[in-house]
Amino acid sequence: MGARLGGDAMTSATVGAAASAFVRRRPPAEVRRRRFLLAVANHSLLIAAAIVFLAPFLFIVLTAFMTNDQALSPDLWPHPFRWQNFADVFHNAPLWRYALNSLIYGGLATLFLLVSSIPVAYALSRLRWRGRHAAFLIVLVAMMLPPQVTIIPVYVMWAKLHLVGTLWPLILPNLLGDAFSIFLLRQFFLTIPEEYIDAARVDGCGEFRILTTVVLRLAKPAIAAVALFSFLFTFNDFFGPLLYTQENPANWTVSVGLSQFRTLYQVQWNLTMAATLMAMAPVIALFFLAQRAFVEGVTLTGVKG
């Protein structure tokens, strides 16, 4: 047995030495069994981890159907199923208004951001000029510094303009570019083959026309990813809306509204979980609809890092 094992190992090594050109022989039974066991172990771990990762969602859903007294007890399964909770949430807090505010914030911010960031990203990637590299470094640095560093004077500025209490302090700055989007778009623009652009230049197109006709059309997936990220960011944004709209409940976004849910409306855990679920739902739905764009966008940030 041992000799056979040794013999086979040597044979596979000899084969492996010329791996690329040859068809691989089936590895010996022991190796195959070990690999099979490893695969099973790997899969079991994966399944266990998946259960752990999904469990929180499960419990949130279950609690969302409980009565309040049950939510305050160690029971795990709702008895009875209280569908009314979801209606009660709206009775307790104007979730519709919060959703509308989130939508306005997200929609306008994304729009402005795209309009302003695309030219900047183009200039940083495809136009040749002195200081281009330095400018890009500055963009990177701006991305990395904590927002708390600049927040005070900016707040003072908006307070003097009497815009505190509204969402405008969050929306308007996007008219002047957003560091993260510029970064993403620049990375993508760099991958456009020079030939396309040269061809357009030869045809006599000015840079602006090149941007709008050639580049935009090619960059649709990247733009979709950036728009998606931007929307996601604004929907999840808490610090910004908290800072600027906390005193004015009419302008709360979903994130702020959810956090204030229990303090203001004396609410119970079952309703809070129902509201939490409703806050998570749009994002998850969006993900399933736009999976490809998501994954691509995430990869864009990291791999070329």
Binding site: A50, F53, F239, W269, M273, A279
Partner: protein, 319 residues
Amino acid sequence: MLERRRSRRKAAWRRRGTVFAFMSPWVAGFSIFFGYPLVMTAYYSFTHYDLLSSPHWVGLANYRYLFQSDQMIWPAVSNTLWLMAVAVPANAVFAFGIALMLSRARAGIGFFRTVFYLPALAPPVAATLGFVYLLNPATGPVNTLLRHLGIEGPLWFDSPEWSKPSLVLLGIWGVGNLMIIFLAAVIDVPRHLFESASLDGAGPLQRLRYVTLPTISPVILFAIVIGVIEALQYFTQAYVASTIAGGSAAASAESANALGYPLQSTLFYPVLLYQQGFRYFNMGYASAMAMLLLAVAFAVTLLILRNSRRWVHVSGAMR
């Protein structure tokens, strides 16, 4: 000849004009929302300013209070450092581990990938609320399950020792984004490297250490840098967890005092800054805190990047 030179110069001007036009939004944005505020933060840090009357100069008083007298600074700083030291590696390890398992899986990769990515999509406020409920010491599912197993679970968000680990657990749950990036990197490791390694007699663990890790080291660096940046800005989860857990039975009006519940264990630097600047409106002092944050962020990032040259391999395939 002259014609050509003139037209070339005109073209150069036009090009500069185009560049300027394209860059102008960002230049304006940078000046108004970054450059100018940075300078003003420095200025405010030397004043006493509460937004009701104009700032008045106090010299180094804010800094003196910051370094000598404020009893909240030390918890804030140490909590943030703790987060950096614990959460960043924890997130990286879990993201990498899951990515590794996924890369080895034979079937259902798409399904598993979705499962692990989904929590990362949950809005931070919603996720935190969910976890505060889940980890409720008396009635939460986690402690209920532990009780069935005969273990008396800790007080989680109500315990000064367990509140930060609870936040780390929350962070690990949401590690999906990082995991996807690691997955892409792991899959991209060239097969021939593995094969030559196993030829040389390397077992799976050694292959991991000498092939996989060095090849994906740029991504590890990325994870560390992003993690540190996030730790220095960590606000939402701490704010929501402490106000919800801390205010769970108390009067609603004083939610600001619950920040850091319990016993300042969740008082992170950005949270304290917010409290000083936008609850108490000590804007001068908060600006001094912001300057300190700036210095630390700068120093730490520089440190990591400088150090990275030693262990990060930038191979030809990845840039």
